[in-house]
């Protein structure tokens, strides 16, 4: 499975979203599913899926679908040339 698919699936699993609900416009606090508690579950899921460790500063930085990708990219998760 490609990383981008894993990334989308992590959103669906953690936030209990349907496939069509996961879009690039998703942001923390803008849906009832991605609230502060959902955020903790999402972070745990991302850590598991991509085998990375996200500390509290990075957790704050991960506040949208796009910023999450950028953050994981910096931690070595390749979404483009995999």
């Amino acid at each position: 499975m490609k990383n981008i698919e894993k990334y989308r699936n992590a959103f669906m699993d953690a936030l209990e979203l349907e496939e069509d609900e996961v879009s690039e416009d998703l942001a923390l606090g803008e849906t009832s599913e991605w609230d502060s508690l959902g955020h903790m579950i999402l972070i745990s899921t991302m850590e598991d899926v991509f085998d990375v460790s996200l500390d509290s500063e990075w957790m704050s930085e991960f506040d949208s679908y796009k910023s999450g990708m950028a953050l994981l990219d910096r931690l070595g998760v390749d979404f483009v040339n995999e």
Binding site: A14, S32, D35, S36, L37, M40, I41, I43, S44, T45, E47, D48, D55, S56, E57, M59
Partner: protein
């Protein structure tokens, strides 16, 4: 020498004058002497404990940094925290644990002979211990360098404006500000004075005027339900005025020295949910609990039910931090339950709002949420204010009795006030609400005021100062000063 005293104002004025007169390289010495003198005037016996905790945290921080692996750093950090918590536990929780074991032993028929120990709680120990814990954890996580200058470090530990009751600051924010040369800026002096005056206003005209009325009900052996309802609502207003005044004075004093402290309140009684309330009330404690308790415990949890348990634990710790009594534990538990219940029912509540078409009236919906949140907070404060668990349950039962909410009974309960007191309190309460209203419409009431004509500005400043001098009631300590 408490904040609300002439002695403190004279002391602080002298500190400010000297601070800007002496070269920057000597200022840390001045702040250190001022901080220890201030602490000694309040809690003389425990200056040594403050110094020991400072020295211990200073060397532990350096020891953590010298470790090579993350595991070693964590081990030293945990050992350091255990020692700091031992100090806190010994002075604050020894009798709580001792009494609890004795009560349990009595119930179970066991023999338990350790008597009650006369221990005095060192002032501010809960606050400076939390600052020390955050410092050690941040070094272990690599987010903070261990401070090598013992003088600067000691000021971080004992900075007198925020030593007694916060805001609980992180070393990352405070230490660099001590090291930068602060120049005398009229804006800082002016803003600081306004915040201090506003703190005096809230403390002496709201909090200390309400305190005896609330106490007359909560200390009474047989209050009526309506009196408990009214006293609890008044206590909520008192507690906010008292604690936010303390933060205003701390922030104002620090600003006059060029130091910016973190805001601790954002109109908490206008919160629309319990989660929102905790992002507005005692913000520096909430963020501390989030970063050093909730997040580490919640990491790796992938089910809401698991996170709910972490929320309950975090609020229980918040409760026990506030006071060594089961009533505070219950208060924390109630907030934990509120938070979990709020999250668990959010979809149902959204559906109900849609079904009743309340969501089409957003202003009404918001005000309903504010009212419900405020009443939930008030109910929890029955446990916060009551002297014992038995009293708390008795008062809670009265609070929940429908007849206690009878408007006629509530109006009759207003007899707790003398007519003059009621008029004075209502007048100043309206002024505070007006201040809040302007704050909600603008970013800052002080900035808004600075754009008004000079006549209006000075009329407001004179009103604040004269009101404190003429109508201010004082002589009481701060509620959070006891934690």
């Amino acid at each position: 020498m408490t904040f609300i005293s002439i002695e403190f104002l004279i002391f602080f004025t002298a500190v400010v004058f000297m601070y800007y007169l002496i070269p920057h390289r000597f200022r840390w010495m001045l702040l250190l002497v001022a901080s220890y003198s201030f602490y000694a005037s309040l809690s003389g016996y425990f200056v040594l404990l403050l110094l020991i905790s400072t020295v211990f945290s200073y060397f532990t921080g350096i020891a953590i940094e010298k470790q090579e692996t993350k595991k070693q750093k964590k081990r030293v950090m945990l050992a350091g925290i255990c020692v700091l918590l031992f100090f806190l536990g010994w002075f604050k929780y020894f009798n709580f644990v001792n009494d609890s074991i004795r009560a349990l032993s009595g119930y179970m028929g066991w023999h338990y002979a350790l008597p009650y120990q006369e221990l005095i709680l060192p002032l501010a120990i809960s606050f400076y211990t939390f600052q020390a814990v955050s410092y050690l954890v941040d070094i272990s996580r690599g987010k903070q360098k261990a401070e090598r200058h013992f003088g600067y470090f000691s000021i971080y530990f004992a900075f007198f404006p925020q030593l007694v009751a916060g805001p609980i600051e992180r070393a990352k924010k405070l230490l660099p500000q001590f090291k930068v040369e602060q120049t005398l800026q009229v804006e800082n002096i002016s803003y600081g004075m306004k915040r201090i005056a506003w703190g005096f206003f809230k403390k002496t005209l709201i909090a200390d005027r309400l305190a005896p009325i609330v106490a007359s009900v909560y200390d009474s052996p047989d209050p009526t339900g309506s009196q408990i309802v009214l006293a609890t609502i008044l206590f909520s207003i008192q507690l906010y005025a008292d604690f936010s005044a303390l933060s205003d004075i701390a922030i104002g004093c620090a600003r006059m020295l060029g130091i910016r402290l973190t805001e601790n309140f954002k109109q908490p009684h206008f919160a629309v949910s319990i989660a929102d309330f905790w992002s507005r009330w005692h913000i520096t404690l909430s963020t501390w609990l989030r970063d050093y308790i909730f997040v580490p415990l919640a990491k790796g949890k992938k089910k809401r039910s698991e996170i709910y348990l972490v929320i309950i634990i975090t609020f229980l710790i918040s409760g026990i931090w506030h006071g060594a009594a089961w009533s505070f534990v219950l208060w924390g538990l109630i907030h934990g339950i509120y938070r979990v219940f709020g999250d668990h029912t959010k979809h149902t509540r959204a559906k109900m709002a849609a079904f009743t078409r309340l969501d089409r009236l957003p202003a009404l919906h918001t005000w309903m949420k504010i009212a419900v949140t405020f009443l939930l907070v008030c109910f929890s404060r029955v446990f916060f204010r009551s002297g014992s668990v038995a009293d708390a349950f008795h008062h809670a039962k009265l609070f929940l009795t429908p007849s206690a909410w009878n408007p006629a009974g509530l109006i009759q309960a207003l007899e707790l006030f003398s007519l003059l007191d009621l008029v004075i309190f209502s007048f100043f309460f309206i002024i505070v609400q007006l201040f809040h209203y302007i704050e909600r419409k603008n970013t800052s009431t002080w900035s808004w005021l600075s754009q008004r004509p000079a006549f209006t500005r000075y009329a407001v400043y004179i009103l604040i100062v004269l009101s404190v001098l003429v109508f201010g009631a004082s002589g009481r300590g701060f509620v959070y000063g006891g934690f």
